[in-house]
Symmetry: C2
Subunit: 329 residues, 2 copies
Amino acid sequence: MRPNFLLAIALTTLLALASTAAAADPLPSWNDGQTKQTIVQFVEEVTTQDGPKFVHPAERIAVFDNDGTLWAEQPMYFQLAFALDRVKAQAPQHPEWKDQEPFKSVLADDLAGVAAGGKKGLLALVAATHGGMTSEEFEKTVRDWVATAKHPRFKRPYTDLVYQPMLELLAYLRANDFKTYIVSGGGIEFVRTFAEPVYGVPPEQVIGSSVKTRYEVRDGRPVIARLGEIDFIDDKAGKPVGIHKFIGRRPLMAFGNSDGDFEMLEWTTSGTGPRFGLIIHHDDALREWAYDRESHVGRLKRGLEEGPQRGWVIASIQRDWKVVFPFEK
Amino acid sequence: MRPNFLLAIALTTLLALASTAAAADPLPSWNDGQTKQTIVQFVEEVTTQDGPKFVHPAERIAVFDNDGTLWAEQPMYFQLAFALDRVKAQAPQHPEWKDQEPFKSVLADDLAGVAAGGKKGLLALVAATHGGMTSEEFEKTVRDWVATAKHPRFKRPYTDLVYQPMLELLAYLRANDFKTYIVSGGGIEFVRTFAEPVYGVPPEQVIGSSVKTRYEVRDGRPVIARLGEIDFIDDKAGKPVGIHKFIGRRPLMAFGNSDGDFEMLEWTTSGTGPRFGLIIHHDDALREWAYDRESHVGRLKRGLEEGPQRGWVIASIQRDWKVVFPFEK
């Protein structure tokens, strides 16, 4: 055979291999590099039957924080934006709010004033916007808000601000027989309204903070009444408690972005056998936001300092994500 | 063709049909009759694609009470037997129990004395036998007990006293893409230790009563510490609350046996679209036990009175179950 012909064959083969690899890449929005490689290698190892690190599908549980991990959390937690919008929408029925904190500050768009109200103000806000209705009424309120509210910077629905690389990761893990769970500091019923269409995560795989509820039969019709009182805070040390309560076994993989996820990663990665922890570092002010140690929202300090020595992967949005939001594609 | 030959063909066909039907029967331990027919018809309707009652697999949630529905509950709740055994096992380390109720009565095998302690005595019993250890330690204690304890009447492990017809029903529903959940008044971590091997129900599909827990790092090792305080009672009106909290959608089918399951069946069957509720009536003193309105354990009164007009099926163990326990086969 002539050398040209051999070269042609070699080139064709290479192109074919390259195109197969591209077609098979389950994480196209992740740049090639150590982060992506570490994820894929872990998943391949625990799913290789007869391999030394094989894990039975029943034990393949992956837990994801929501705010800052699956969708954005700036300039404020999206659920806080929901609560502020609800105060404004309900204000005509509550003339007394004009002189009552934290509502007065909310109506004046004075976020510093809202923050000054501290825990007491926040609880009053939760009670007024998240309690005093049935679970069905609350669900409808959230759905309506999600369908109409727009993010101030991107002028798009909040559910557009989900991270494309994380959507691919969720799908990749499910294709490998993982059960994917959301473990959010946000409200369980808030996140459940969109988790299935947006993330492919069914309501029963969403864990979150909650208000107390009560079963009542009203005029012969049973309802779940949402009370204005906090039942459970699914944040920090609450995350492993929530995981243990709802799932009852230790996850294999955990993904977070702030120190609120520290204990979840600690609990996950201290289990026996192969375990995986990853922290997303928001370091891309151009495409998203850059914040960590000094941020009020999504503060990340301990995770950056202790994560690497604990074997956790620190993913950089700037370096590791080819695409951030689905609408960029 | 000769009539004899035709007859032979007809007979062969009939026999073949009969044997196919027998081979395909997913509920062989249920006697033919209205109860079995109603169950099968419901499942066929909600799984018939393009049928008027089709339900998407994601919505196919079936919830089962445990005590008296999946396994027996006489002469006392099996978890109470566990608690009493634990008191006896721990007594040498607690000499003070000899003079302290409810422990004094437990150690004297005086059940009436234990009962006389009321709620206060019961909470002390829970704290002493279900709290003050890590979740891993508790799990091991339950596993050891399940492996060694024997039921007083049948002289067999308690996990032998599961109902064969219900095991078949669980498997039948899962084969039809249902997610099967246990919603027990018993302890969530107690039931989780055996739910997967015994019922094929993974820990994340077990809902139950719970004690408060706390995440702690002890000498660098994270644990879930079980506190001696009740967190949630998953009984009566607590069952729909637990279902809503853990699953976040209304079940399609609910199975119970006592008035502790009334609200769970009410919540389930008051949903829109096709819904199914069934109550097991313990009316077979010979093979199992006969009890209902007057029983302290598994009392069933309101369900018997209101169930039929609410469209709930009342299953009779005597009439509907060919086999009660797997060891009878």
